[in-house]
């Protein structure tokens, strides 16, 4: 946690946000003795102003983080404030509305705010958890380098397979063609990575060899290892056996590299996906707050 945005400035913004939430609670409880708490009492207006100001400050973070030349107030400071003030926002706004909800533009704004805050919570979680996992997975190698490695292994694998047989080449080629490192966002997140590669490839490879020589019915009844043994027994060429083993090594290495790249991409997707909600909904929230304020005073 050293140097995290959470403990920036000795939790300065945690304290400020807690103070803000406390003020909001005091305002709310001071309004309990009168009419049912709502946004129209002086306490309600005060809480509303606090909420609107918070929203503007939180949105400004989106602009500030793109001001790359700006050196006044570090981005870490802004991010820390963004997180903690973002947590105090739903407190202020919920007390502003006095727990009154309905099918109207005001509750629309509230719902948007809650969606933004909830997605922000996920984002905070993602930023706290995944960078570490990502670094561990990369282990000092960039994604581009890993992809270059896979390409080299593809090349080696294809060469080895071509020497072995046409079927083996087709099999490896199919594997190369079918390999998707990324894909859609959904695919990136749900991609089936990390499964042991060897049995699958052994199965395919052995099955392919056997299918070309024997009745295909036995393909499904024997385990990949048995297939290999069967194939090796039949083969008389030691060089060929050597090539098969070599090919399997290459393919295995390749598959683990593919898994690492896929995991890398998945971590990136985890860290990015929430922004697709967080950012557009934040802007929609600003519009809804504008409509909320105008409509409230239009029909005062």
């Amino acid at each position: 946690m050293y140097g995290s945005i959470l403990n920036y400035g000795n939790y300065r913004y945690l304290k400020q946000a807690a103070a803000l939430a406390l003020i909001a609670l005091l305002l709310y409880f001071s309004s309990l003795s009168d009419e049912p708490p709502n946004g129209g009492t002086w306490q309600g207006y005060t809480l509303g102003v606090i909420g609107a100001a918070l929203i503007l400050i939180l949105l400004w973070f989106g602009i500030r983080k793109r001001q790359y030349h700006c050196t006044k107030n570090s981005l870490a400071r802004w991010a820390s404030a963004h997180v903690y003030l973002g947590i105090s926002l739903p407190v202020a706004v919920t007390l502003h509305c006095g727990f009154q909800f309905g099918w109207n533009v005001h509750t629309l704004a509230y719902t948007l705010m809650m969606l933004v805050v909830v997605s922000g919570f996920y984002g905070l979680y993602a930023y706290l958890v995944y960078p570490e996992a990502l670094t561990a997975n990369r282990n000092g190698v960039s994604r581009r380098e890993m992809i270059a490695d896979i390409a080299k292994l593809n090349d080696t694998g294809l060469t080895l397979a071509e020497d072995l047989s046409t079927e083996a080449y087709h099999l490896v080629l199919r594997e190369v063609e079918e390999t998707h490192l990324g894909g859609t966002l959904w695919h990136q997140i749900t991609m089936n990575s990390g499964l042991p590669a060897m049995p699958l490839l052994q199965w395919k490879l052995a099955g392919n060899f056997v299918a070309s020589e024997q009745a295909s019915s036995s393909v499904t009844t024997l385990s990949p290892e048995d297939f290999l043994r069967k194939y090796f027994r039949k083969s008389e060429s030691t060089a060929e056996i050597h090539r098969v083993v070599e090919l399997l090594k290459v393919l295995n290495e390749r598959q683990s590299m593919v898994n690492r790249v896929q995991l890398d991409i998945r971590y990136h997707a985890f860290m990015k996906c929430w922004l697709f909600l967080h950012v557009p909904l934040s802007c929609a929230l600003l519009a809804a707050v504008l409509v909320h304020v105008v409509s409230v005073f239009f029909y005062w």
Binding site: P36, L108, D155, V176, L185, Q188, P280, A284, F298
Partner: protein, 596 residues
Amino acid sequence: MRCLVETIRRRRNEVSDTKEFDTERLSLGRGADQDIHLQTRLAGLSHAVIEQESDGNLHIRALAPHRILYNGRKLTESVLNPGDEFSIGSVYFTVREAAEPYHLHLEIKEPTGRQSKELEDALLATVNPDYGLSGFSMRRAAWFLSLAIVILFLLLPLAGFIYQPLGIWLRTLPVVSDLSWSPGPISSAHSFFGAECNRCHEHAFVSVQNSACTTCHKDTPHHVNEKLLQSIAALDSNRCASCHKEHGGSEASSLIRHDQTLCTDCHKDIKAIAPDTQLSDVSDFGKNHPEFKVTVTPFADDLSQPLRIALDQKDRLMELSNLEFSHALHLNKEGVKTPDRGKVKLDCANCHKPEQRDGKYMAKLDFESQCHECHKLNFEAEDPKQEIPHGNDAIVLTFLEGYYSARALKGDYRHLSAPQVIRERLRPGEELTPEENLEIKAWAVDYARDVNSEVMRFRVCGKCHTVTKNRDSSEENSRPWKIEPLGFNQRKLPMAEFDHDKHKTQKCTDCHEADKSEHSEDVMLKGIADCRTCHGGADAKNKVASSCIDCHRFHTSPSLTMEGKKIETPSKVHSSPGTESPPPVGNNVNPRPDTR
């Protein structure tokens, strides 16, 4: 099938090689025996063939297990149409319009560079940096959502406000009308026009005006008595909607407020807004409420000016009732003597009965039904059944004159003061002379006057009523003595709404010390301490929680509406039963005394 195949060099984008084929079956693959030899590791030795099928179209067919990326989709077979693009590995083909005599014109873009670079590029292409959300941009989504919200929820309702027919039509649709601005359900009382926002919200950015309320609520009495209105500017500066909040739900506790802060905001320091007031500060019934003030007519000349005296000011607390009455005597435990029923034990309910309507107040007392059984108004010993009429002292003398004239004319009235002609019986056939008539008349007038004086002052009327000499010279002859009007009010606490019916489980003497009162001047109410044995403040836990509005009312002006117009007929809701006029308010306001 004649085919023209042109190879394009990537770097210079020019045709580097042209081949022609005249074959039934054009083969594509990495093998050296293929018609089109593909220099890519991602192609099979024999990858695909192009043939003319029986339907006349040219087909490309991948040989198992290979496939072709045809117009962006992985296929095993497709019809070749001019303009189509397909690729095998990193070799890209474009189908061109074939000019005579060719049937097929293919353009090939060959890969350049290392084989592993080609493989690397193919892998990189699968990473999909835009997450497969091509066409989705956060910026565009943000704009779309924001604009949609502004248009649907702001601009359309605004247009409907500017052009009312549009607004009315929009309200029939979901979402897009000003109904989406409604912060909460309308109270059930107003819900019948709840969808017509502009019945109340008449002008943009102007809070709801009182005129919108008084369009319907035109008879609602003003806040308080109009004499006080001048001095309480704070009341007038408030809008109706400052207190009566709509959109608080169908039950609308905010529409008619019961919380006491609405009152105590001002009344906890009432002098701040009304420096001249004689009211005391109040913040809570249980903790800070002054002793009750009763409206009484004390011993003073001016009966039209009753005073408000606190119940704890015992030395001042008396009431000029102009009646001689002892509650203690009537409530004697031994009973009281009656003419016909012997001794009868009386209790409060013998005289004081609740009003028939709702039992909130006690009915007016009535001589005939409550007093007359014992208190006979007879005046003539020889004629005990004859009684003076009750209720109008102005006719008593006239009545007596008539009675004694008739009595004297009959004769045989043996009173010492009577002349001979009256004392003797008038014989049959005998007639009085005019002189005798005059004598009888003179005696009857004189005697009636004496009897009047006696019954008024001592014997009949004066026994209960305060009787004074009439100083009005014009009436001196016809009404020498007069009965003072009764000085007690029907309601001692006109500023509060006490409901006897709700307290009928209590004994009368719990609040009224009637059994100890020997004089009608006594004000028998016990006071606030007595109420507080059961009632606490608004937050009371072990007592009846009572806020201001449980006893007091607002909008009580007897004569003015909220718009400042004269109330023609006092509103039934706000007028107080038991008094003929609305309750007096303030310290110096007169309830009309009971003058029976």
